[in-house]
Amino acid sequence: MEEGTNPEMEHPAFEPKIVAFCCNWCSYAGADLAGTTRLQYPANVRIIRVMCSGRVDPAFVLKAFSLGADGVIVAGCHPSDCHYINGNEKTAMRGIFLSEFLEDAGLEPQRFRVEWIAGSEGQKFADVVKKMVAELQTLGPIAEESA
């Protein structure tokens, strides 16, 4: 196709690829609200909807990085807001473990985030994406050795 990631382009600005896992009830709704209220954020994120952030297997995050994601977000309901009572608590625990693991593997901490985004927080969703894109643009692609 005509546009997109053309390798022949001269020094294009680095456009990081971000995969975001969003729970159906809060953070996916938050992402929708960003749209409803027409907030603008960079088009670098691809959202994968899951019912609960507790469904996000750390293996999915690793898979995303191994396939070339520059950043991964796992987003769920705020603590105590979980539609499934406490799925997000499991996410929080796994998030801590995963962050440490990824750092040990040589990835910068900015590349993986666990975020709590409520259905009313369209602004927060947009802000999280903006911030992450800016940080990843500064970092550049993942270094060969850690990939």
Binding site: A31, L39, A59, H78, D81, Y84, S120, Q123
Partner: protein, 1011 residues
């Protein structure tokens, strides 16, 4: 009226949380429901809230699924932007005339895309955001509105015609008549009209509407909301600065003899505490000060919230304060308050003041009462009786929520279910007569078929099409593997496109459908329904969100947006090719209930379930029915409940559908929703479809204040008995509050004691005016209309002395006499009393039996030992485990009318289970691969719904099995499973991984989706 003349439909007036709950319960139990709402959207006041106490849940997050469920229920007809015009008839058959106020937009045509509002040049008042931000002349009240249909405000509209030009659906019609009447026939009416917030500007001395930095609680709530006018930023209206000091003034238009509202509005103390806590989270370093008369944190776990606010957040709490006026500094717009702090008068300046405006009856209450022939109480709220809290004074008409008196959301929701329970009993013979059960064609057998995917890309008028190159996305979609058909639509959700999709499924023999349009959260059910009508399993549908999460958020980058839209379609197609038809197994239901506990709540619940037509087993461990009510001789309003108790017991014992099991307990419970099998201690086995837990609570046996050691020290229940029997004879009585409540061991308030103390004190003063009565208290918590008793007690000379929990009253025995010393907080003096009786208002403590029952039923308890419901706000009588419900003191301390409401609610919730011949389980559930499972039990441990159960399938071999009826499909167990034996259907690992691959693949289809 003969049973066959009854109408199996109900009208619910008011679409807030209470109205929605009543509507959903009835619709789920086999009744047709008309839900009438005066504004353009359902949701009520709750839609305006940012957070809810005591869990700080996001209000919209928990409300929105309920809005959607109500909006799309096949047995609920929403009639919004309309009002009641006339009602004729009687219980069982009412003829109702409704006036619809036209939206000047054709409801059937409007897709809710919002292009009209975007281009509307007129801005005006915005009642939803309390005028803190303007609204357009064509509007929806809030983005999650249900129904999502725009309305033209003719008062604002200048008729410029711009919206008409932009509306590609052709929905705008200026020339409609402004109102249209219609009539419906219903068997019963539920009033859930809610309340209105007191207009804080009427309290002139506080300067609301004059001083810019004085805001009302509802304005502050909108300010805190991330989707509100300031996007969650707390700012001073006068200069936009971030405030460092905020004062909250309580009881504005409540407990106020200068207004008609002398009652307590019940929820404002907690709502204000929540606002202070949330504001401090928003603004680091913010100092909040709250001016209370009393802190009324009387609900379940409220006191703990108050304690956390004070100790963890540093919210400054000052009691005994009725602020007389607010003054504004002309230079700074700061606000000066004088108040009492430790018995001294202080003055302090604040950046902002929030007025906790109370509740008042809705404007149309009197008119409604006249139309329906029902009585209002002296405050203008709907009149109810303590012993029949959901009945209006006219038969066939019921009430719930704040229309019957100010109350918080869970109490409103419980009362709403209770009203639904009453209607279900009244119209029991008409169940299922007027509801429609949708019939779908038999599902096609797709076995062995390769994916044949059809992709429909939506322009959504110009919402998507103006940013994303839709034809290009469509062309791209058609090149993806598995896709055999692709087309673009102006509105994929329109009626005619639905028809077309079905034809195309037939014509091209599609076995999977992808729609690239808006969000699955609102539109997936619509499209799933369409594919089902074409003979496809509904789980063979997938959506790509190219509007809310693409065209709307990347408006300035059409190329990037088009690329993203292609990626999203590629991801959806990739998942689609891995979709499988999911069965929704039908689980048969045994139409019988087990009610555990034969007190007021258990009996009420049992009777209402039986009246609705189901068999009930009522199990009571005592040798007699009646529970605590046997020890109560006078209710708050002075009624002797013994007669009611006797007739209730008689009715329960004589009801042909109720079997009472006295001196028996539950020994073993097996099964799940629809199919429980319970063994009683007596050996009897019962099969039933639902369970109500109504095991009550116990009265605390005080260890303090010489109770049990001195004959003159008695409990409140003993005083009640003495007063009833005429044995009471004393010149002086001292009542101590909070005995065994609000301490380290039992941190919460027992809720009922202040109101019962007041009722007893009044009785003493009325019958023995010469007797002196002293009430020693920490906070008086006579919430709601019980405040009247407090005022009356004070008028009759009852003395109220406030003590600090740090220095509680000292009680000494001096032979036969008692000596009590109290450090009075307000006047700061030591007072010595020598009463004839010391009455201890002993706490309500959880039933010690709860622990065993919790294990038997696998249901949770809170820290104190009361049972813990599924959700504190919107599911007050449900357990997380389906088919098990909760009511009365087993839930938390509550008054008689509140217990009855909850008991009726539990009955209504049981009806939603038992009214169905079978339960259709969700297709999105997890399944265990037995070959991989090692039976470790991890899944069983972490599941909150009790779905996975490890069973010994052969000697020494343990395997987990997931009960489909209980599984919610969250998928958490799959991640925890160490052998990866659990497969969450529809969100399988291979499905998610294929989406990850597609998300990160290059655009060229040849290179992506490794299978």
């Amino acid at each position: 009226m003969a049973d066959n003349e009854l109408v199996g439909a109900a009208l619910v007036v008011g679409g807030g949380p209470a109205g929605m709950q009543a509507a959903l319960d009835l619709a789920e139990s086999g009744y047709k429901v008309y839900l009438l709402e005066t504004t353009p959207s359902i949701g009520g006041t709750m839609a305006q809230l940012d957070k809810t106490f005591p869990t700080n849940d996001c209000s919209m997050c928990i409300l929105s699924p309920k809005l959607v469920a109500t909006g799309r229920h096949e047995n609920i007809t929403l009639i919004t932007n309309a009002e009641l015009k006339n009602v004729e008839g009687e219980a069982g058959k009412f003829n109702v005339t409704i006036t619809r106020h036209q939206r000047f937009i054709v409801e059937e045509k409007c897709t809710g895309c919002g292009v009209c509002a975007e281009h509307c040049p007129i801005e005006g008042a915005n009642s939803f955001d309390r005028d803190l931000a303007p609204a357009k002349a064509v509007y929806v009240p809030f983005p999650q509105a249900v129904p999502l249909i725009y309305t033209i405000d003719k008062g604002l509209c200048i008729g410029c015609g711009i919206c008409e030009k932009f509306c590609e659906a052709g929905a705008i019609e200026y020339s409609m008549d402004s109102t249209v009447d219609e009539t419906i026939e219903v068997g019963a009416i539920i009033l859930a009209t809610g309340y209105e917030v007191f207009d804080a500007s009427k309290k002139n001395a506080y300067g609301h509407g004059v001083y810019p930095n004085v805001v009302s609680n509802i304005e502050f709530e909108r300010m805190l909301s991330a989707s509100g006018p300031t996007e969650g930023h707390v700012i001073r209206p006068s200069d936009g600065d971030v405030p460092q000091k905020i004062a909250f003034i309580q009881c504005v238009g409540s407990r106020d003899a200068q207004t008609p509202n002398t009652y307590c509005s019940s929820y404002c103390c907690m709502a204000a505490l929540k606002q202070a806590v949330i504001a401090q989270e928003h603004v680091p370093g913010l100092k909040t000060t709250m001016f209370f008369m009393d802190t009324r944190a009387f609900g379940k776990e409220f006191e703990e919230y108050l304690h956390r606010a004070e100790t963890e957040y540093g919210v400054r709490i000052l009691r005994n304060n009725r602020i007389s006026k607010v003054q504004q500094s002309h230079e700074t717009d700061d606000l000066l308050l004088s108040f009492i702090d430790d018995a001294d008068i202080s003055e302090e300046s604040f950046d902002m003041v929030v007025l906790s405006a109370g509740a008042k009856p809705p404007e149309m209450a009197r008119q409604l009462a006249k139309m329906l022939g029902i009585k209002m109480n002296s405050y203008g709220f709907c009149e109810t009786d303590e012993l029949s809290p959901v009945d209006c004074t006219s038969p066939g008409i019921y009430v719930c929520g704040a229309f019957s008196g100010p109350k918080d959301i869970p109490d409103s929701v419980a009362q709403a279910s209770g009203a639904a329970g009453k209607v279900a009993a009244l119209l029991a013979d008409q169940r299922g007569k007027l509801v429609t059960k949708k019939e779908y064609p038999e599902e096609k057998n797709l076995e062995g078929q390769e994916p044949r995917i059809g992709v429909f890309v939506c322009h959504c008028g110009i919402n998507i099409g103006a940013v994303v190159n839709v034809p290009e996305v469509m062309k791209y979609a058609s090149s993806l593997p598995g896709v055999v058909y692709a087309e673009a639509n102006l509105y994929t959700c329109s009626q005619d496109t639905q028809k077309k999709i079905k034809e195309i499924i037939e014509e091209h023999d599609l076995n999977r459908v992808v729609v690239a349009s808006c969000t699955p959260r609102t539109h997936e059910p619509l499209f799933q329904n369409t594919v089902r009508e074409a003979g496809l399993n509904k789980y063979l549908f997938e959506m790509a969100n190219i509007r809310d999460q693409c065209s709307w958020v990347h408006r300035m980058e059409p190329e990037a947006a088009t690329k993203k839209a292609k990626d999203l379609v590629r991801m959806a197609v990739a998942k689609s090719s891995k979709l499988e038809p999911l069965p929704q197994p039908k689980i048969p239901v045994t139409p019988a209930a087990l009610v555990i506990g034969g007190g007021l709540s258990g009996m009420t619940s049992a009777l209402e379930i039986a009246k609705a037509g189901y068999e009930v087993h009522l199990v009571e461990k005592d040798k007699e029915l009646g529970g605590h009510l046997r020890t109560i001789f006078s209710t708050l309003s002075g009624v002797d409940p013994r007669e009611t108790l006797a007739s209730l017991k008689k009715e329960v014992r004589e009801h042909e559908k109720i079997k009472v099991h006295l001196e028996d307990t539950v020994e073993e419970v097996k099964g799940y929703i629809g199919n429980f099998e319970t063994t009683l201690k007596s050996g009897e086995k019962i099969e039933h479809g639902a369970i109500v837990v109504a095991t009550g609570a116990i009265e605390y046996e005080p260890e303090e204040y010489l109770y049990g050691k001195h004959p003159k020290v008695i409990r409140q229940t003993d005083l009640g008995k003495m007063l009833a029997s005429g044995e009471f004879d004393a010149r002086s009585v001292v009542i101590i509050q909070c005995v065994g409540s609000r301490n380290d061991e039992h941190p919460n308030c027992s809720r009922i004691c202040c109101s019962t103390a007041m009722a007893n004190a009044l009785k003493i003063k009325r019958e023995h005016p010469e007797t002196e009565v002293f009430v020693l208290f920490r906070d008086i918590r006579t919430y709601g209309f019980a405040e009247e008793n407090y005022n009356e007690a004070a008028r009759l000379g009852v003395r109220f002395l406030r003590f600090d929990p740090e220095s509680p009253p000292k009680v000494k025995a001096n032979g036969d006499d008692l000596e009590i010393d109290i450090d009075e907080k307000f006047i700061e003096e030591r007072i010595a009393l020598k009463p004839d009786y010391l009455v201890l208002n002993a706490a309500v403590h959880p039933n010690p039996d709860n622990k065993d029952l919790a294990q038997l039923l696998k249901i949770p308890q809170n820290r104190e030992g009361f049972f813990l419901e599924a959700h504190m706000k919107l599911r007050p009588v449900d357990f997380a485990t389906d088919g098990i419900f909760l009511c009365g003191l087993a839930h938390s301390p509550r008054l008689i009318d509140e217990s009855i409401s909850q008991a009726l609610a539990a009955a209504a919730r049981v009806n939603t289970v038992l009214s169905r011949p079978f339960i259709e389980a969700e297709g999105v559930v997890s399944v265990v691969d037995e070959d991989k499972c090692i039976g470790c039990g991890r899944c069983e441990d972490i599941c909150e719904y009790g779905a996975p159960v490890v069973e010994e399938i052969s000697p020494g071999v343990f395997k987990s099995r997931i009960k489909e009826a209980l599984c919610k499909g969250c998928g958490s167990c799959a991640v925890e499973c160490c052998t990866r034996a659990i497969r969450p259907k529809h969100f399988r690992s291979d499905q998610i991984i294929t989406m990850i691959e597609a998300a990160l693949a290059d655009e060229e289809p040849e290179q992506e989706v490794k299978t």
